[in-house]
């Protein structure tokens, strides 16, 4: 399916390449021009991706906007793209945050702005590609190639320990994905033995029944790759380093989109491909998620550095996302997908606001600040809204996601849900305490007296994020309704043995009921 006869997904993936090509011909000293080109191209990409929302048929279980052509016939690799109700939002989040990232680092890039923008645009290509690839080989290509623009963002434009952080980021991810490659190859041959066809098509692989010990190993290989990316405790140690050293745009993209690739990987690959292994490992995975939630929250409380605090809060928040996913019921998974968006918006926003103060003062240490409320009222207000969204204040977006996740988790494991819920309180503690130390009281540090408040550009960068924070918080229906069918389909898949999935994998429509469990649950809140 296409929009206006255009292969819309390819267009979204590769449109940033236009920007890259243009930038190659820009003089290396005209930084301003490079930034404007990048902004225009990423904004155009966002606009191109926007019609997907309306064109997407929310009642259809099959992948939509499918493109499928042969790429490497010798291995049966195909250029196969498609979108479902879950990746719809991940793609939109990617294109939105790319614009925000370009606009948000207008002043922070002090050297080689052209190369910086090229990296950002290439990153966008890779990220979108990861989310829409239905051929596992193609997915793997995007997954690996996308690392390098990020590696450059951290390594070239990062702060003091950038080399260490950049190489750690690459080595962690690569180690895990190397084992995933072995698992992918193994599945490829399982598929060949079962069907006689060489295929990397994920829809073919969904029909594969894999024997038990093998299924555990393969699940472990996939899960490790994704767990590093999420990151789940105890594979999270690369994250604080990468975040602290990365420039603001890098942090925004890293937290906003890259981490979602891990959760997406569980959703698309690890769980539906290995249903029995998923069930077997489920208690452990739920346990690790809860540990991650609490550990991240506790570590946040002792952070002296704002950026590091936000980084660790990601560990905690992604723990929520994983918990919802592993609850494996409509509320949990839908909350989890919504929370992926929320986290992208809120934490992306947090990194932006921290970056804004860093641009002014060149420090992120909480102790350096105090009393900023009087000096920078606009900044303080926007900062507070984003902080509250991250905490999960009712009527802001974070609440909806966490609430759904906790409802879902409670049905599976009350203990896990109770423990996780306590982290909501901890989040309020560490974020509000930080806010208090930075903004309230008297201005104790003379350097803060003369700090300028936000300019119109910075407000404009934050505006779309604030808009979504309020929108999702007050009226989440437009978001939930589009993902309902796909989430239900995912849950059914995980609960169905691959041998019995034939009917499930046939494209079919789900009747419109005018209100699902989730919207009812929300109405009764």
């Amino acid at each position: 399916m296409t929009i206006l006869g255009l292969p819309i997904l390819s267009l979204i993936i590769f449109f940033p390449m236009v920007g890259v090509l243009l930038l190659l011909f820009v003089d290396r000293n005209s930084d301003e021009l490079a930034k404007w080109i990048a902004l225009a191209v990423s904004a155009a990409t966002f606009l191109i991706s926007l019609p997907l929302y309306w064109a997407f048929d929310a009642n259809e279980t099959a992948f939509q906007f499918v493109e499928n052509v042969s790429w490497i016939p010798a291995w049966g690799v195909r250029y196969h793209l498609g979108l479902d109700g879950i990746t719809l939002f991940l793609v939109l989040l990617t294109t939105l945050l790319s614009v925000v990232a370009v606009a948000g680092t207008w002043r922070q890039v002090e050297h080689h702005a052209r190369e910086f923008m090229i990296s950002l645009l290439l990153l966008e290509v890779g990220m979108t590609g990861v989310f829409v690839s239905l051929d596992v080989f193609l997915f793997f290509v995007f997954w690996e190639v996308m690392l390098f623009p990020m590696y450059f963002l951290i390594g070239v434009w990062g702060s003091e320990r950038r080399l260490y952080a950049a190489i750690k980021f690459v080595v962690y991810t690569m180690t895990a994905s190397a084992l995933m490659l072995v698992a992918i190859l193994a599945l490829y041959f399982y598929n060949y033995r079962a069907t006689g066809q060489f295929s990397f098509n994920i829809e073919d692989w969904y029909r594969l029944s894999i024997g038990l010990p093998a299924q555990y190993w393969l699940f472990a290989a996939f899960a490790l790759a994704f767990a590093v990316k999420v990151p789940m405790w105890p594979f999270h140690t690369w994250l604080p380093d990468a975040h602290v050293e990365a420039p603001t745009a890098g942090s925004v993209i890293l937290a906003g989109v890259l981490l979602k690739m891990g959760t997406y990987g569980f959703l698309r690959f690890a769980m539906p491909l290995f249903p029995q292994a998923t069930q077997a490992f489920l208690p452990w995975l739920i346990g690790l998620s809860v540990v991650g939630i609490l550990y991240g929250a506790l570590v946040c409380m002792v952070q002296p550095d704002m950026k590091k605090l936000v980084a660790y809060s990601s560990v905690s928040h992604l723990g929520f996302v994983m918990l919802g996913l592993f609850a494996l019921n409509q509320e949990g998974v839908q909350g989890s997908v919504l929370q992926m968006l929320n986290h992208g918006i809120s934490t992306g926003g947090l990194f932006l606001v921290v970056g804004m103060i860093y641009e002014r003062r060149h420090t992120k240490a909480i102790a350096e600040f105090g009393g900023l409320m009087r000096v920078m009222p606009i900044y303080a207000t926007l900062f507070l809204i984003i902080v509250l969204s991250s905490i999960g204040l009712p009527s802001l977006n974070g609440f909806v996601g966490e609430y759904l996740i906790l409802i879902g988790a409670f049905q599976v494991s009350p203990v896990a849900a109770i423990l996780a819920a306590s982290a909501v309180i901890l989040a309020a503690v560490y974020l509000l305490w930080m806010f208090q130390r930075v903004f309230f009281g008297e201005v104790t540090n003379k350097k803060n007296e003369a700090v300028a408040d936000l300019n119109w550009r910075e407000v404009a960068v934050l505006a779309p994020l604030i808009l979504f924070i309020v929108w999702i918080g007050v009226f989440p229906r437009p978001f939930l309704s589009k993902m309902e069918t796909s989430v239900g389909h995912f849950i059914q898949m995980v609960h169905t043995e691959p041998s019995a999935r034939a009917a499930l994998l046939e494209p079919h429509r789900v009747a419109d009921e005018g209100g699902s469990d989730v919207s009812i649950a929300l109405k009764t809140q």
């Binding site: 084992l179 190859l185 490829y188």
Partner: protein, 489 residues
């Protein structure tokens, strides 16, 4: 007995003949044309290689056999000969500027390069242990001399001496192996050895095992497999850089071509014996090569250890065997040629008059001094590390795919983890080029223009990207080229 010398006999060895004859012509040209520089000799060599390539293409698919079955121009031979020709052509292209910059006005250089290439080609097309040995010696002796080409340089002399001494040892082992196999089977022809091995009393003859062992040790030296790799870093470091590029690609591929043919055509009955041995050697070679490469500060030494590791990956393919595994050897040899010679080409381009740039710190900020060349180097490093969309990934993918298919799961796991280790040192080049500030001693100026070098770099880049993005054509070709090795088994 059929007629001893027919046209078919000579057609079979036509490519080798052209290369050898033209090698001598180059020497004569050099003798009578002194003082006119060596550029013309380089172009003559390129022409020779092109003509030979054409001869190879015309012979492809005809399956000619010559000299009573001792030489064959089958698809496998021609595939490897084509690789050697590409190697030689690229080495000639990168040598032109190198010889001028390092003031090495020796016309013999190109002649020796042609002889070495001819020797390598003979190794790929021979079906007789003695002929393989002769090819190997032509290749090796030419290489020894090429290593010591920088006469006033101690390291270059050390390199040649070391290579010669250890090479002589390896030759000894190889000859012992051949002798023992001859003693046990009564023949040096691969086909006869295979048929002799079908008899039980021959198969159980201990000389077979000694012969096999000595052969593996000999080839282990020549292709620098662990634990016979010790000579590699010193030889590669001291040799002229263009020759290092040649050594790491041409002779290595030739060694594998001959080893594959011997193991598949003569000794496949004994594969239960050599597969476990080579399994261990492959795992060791990958691991030792990669781990030692981690701590090198000299790029030539780093690439030397990395070439050991890459030999390990190729060996995995040999252990796996089968159509898929063997075709991966062909594919990987070509892929490795492009990426490795590409990297060396950049090192040569960065070198200045009489002064080479071979330590990492020389390249601090290189990506900003030379944006295009820096990007090329980046791509070559990614390919060596095996990142998708490059030839290196496609090659590794084919190797590991065949390994998984045949059930070598642990060897694959060792292999992929090794390529993660390798990412660290290949990315070190990237770190230096893009993430470090230029220092007082690092490269500050853009290199002078050298068209042949640019051609070589462009060809390498095109090869790396084409094979990386569209590997299907070469995959089909390499599958075709090894199919007779399997059929004849």
């Amino acid at each position: 007995m059929t007629n001893f010398l027919t046209t078919a006999d000579f057609l079979t060895i036509l490519p080798e003949t052209i290369v050898f004859v033209m090698g001598m012509v180059v020497i004569l040209f050099d003798l009578f044309g002194r003082g006119r520089g060596t550029r013309n000799l380089a172009y003559l060599s390129l022409l020779t290689l092109a003509v030979t390539g054409y001869a190879c293409v015309s012979l492809y698919g005809q399956g000619l056999t010559g000299f009573r079955g001792t030489v064959v121009a089958d698809e496998f031979a021609i595939a490897f000969q084509a690789i050697f020709l590409i190697v030689a052509a690229m080495v000639v292209l990168i040598s032109i500027r190198y010889l001028e910059a390092q003031e090495l006005p020796f016309g013999e250089y190109y002649a020796l390069l042609l002889f070495a290439t001819g020797g390598a080609m003979l190794m790929a097309s021979s079906r007789d242990l003695l002929l393989i040995f002769i090819g190997l010696e032509i290749l090796s002796i030419s290489s020894y001399i090429l290593c010591g080409m920088i006469q006033g340089d101690l390291r270059s002399n050390e390199s040649a001496m070391k290579y010669f001494l250890l090479g002589a040892f390896a030759t000894g082992f190889l000859l012992y192996g051949i002798v023992m196999l001859y003693g046990a089977t009564g023949s040096t022809q691969l086909g006869d050895i295979a048929s002799a091995l079908t008899q039980r009393e021959v198969y159980t003859n201990p000389y077979i095992w000694f012969g096999l062992g000595f052969l593996l040790v000999g080839f282990g030296f020549k292709t620098a497999l662990v634990p016979f790799h010790m000579w590699t870093p010193d030889v590669y470091e001291g040799a002229p850089t263009a020759i290092t590029a040649f050594l790491s690609t041409g002779p290595k591929a030739a060694g594998f071509a001959a080893l594959v043919r011997i193991l598949m055509e003569a000794l496949s009955a004994t594969h239960t014996q050599w597969v476990p041995v080579l399994w261990v050697v492959a795992a060791l070679t990958m691991t030792v090569g990669n781990v030692l490469a981690l701590q090198q500060d000299n790029i030539k030494r780093m690439l030397a250890y990395s070439s050991i590791a890459h030999a390990g990956y190729i060996l995995v393919a040999l252990v796996v065997g089968g159509k898929d595994g063997l075709s991966a050897i062909v594919f990987y040899s070509l892929a490795y040629t492009f990426m490795n010679i590409g990297a060396f080409a950049i090192v040569i381009l960065a070198s200045e008059q009489g002064h080479e740039r071979v330590t990492f710190s020389d390249y601090a900020g290189y990506g900003y001094v030379e944006p295009v060349l820096g990007l090329c180097m980046f791509v070559f490093m990614l390919s060596l590390a095996g990142i998708p969309l490059t030839a290196g990934f496609a090659g590794k993918f084919q190797i590991f795919k065949s390994a998984i298919e045949q059930g070598f799961v642990w060897l694959t796991v060792i292999g992929v983890l090794n390529s993660v280790v390798s990412i660290y040192y290949y990315l070190r080049m990237v770190v230096v080029m893009y993430m470090q500030r230029p220092t007082a001693t690092s490269l500050q100026h853009r290199a002078t223009v050298s068209v042949p070098l640019y051609v070589a770099i462009a060809a390498a880049l095109a090869g790396v990207l084409y094979l990386g993005v569209f590997p299907s054509d070469l995959l089909h070709f390499s599958l075709q080229s090894v199919s007779m090795l399997i059929a004849g088994r």
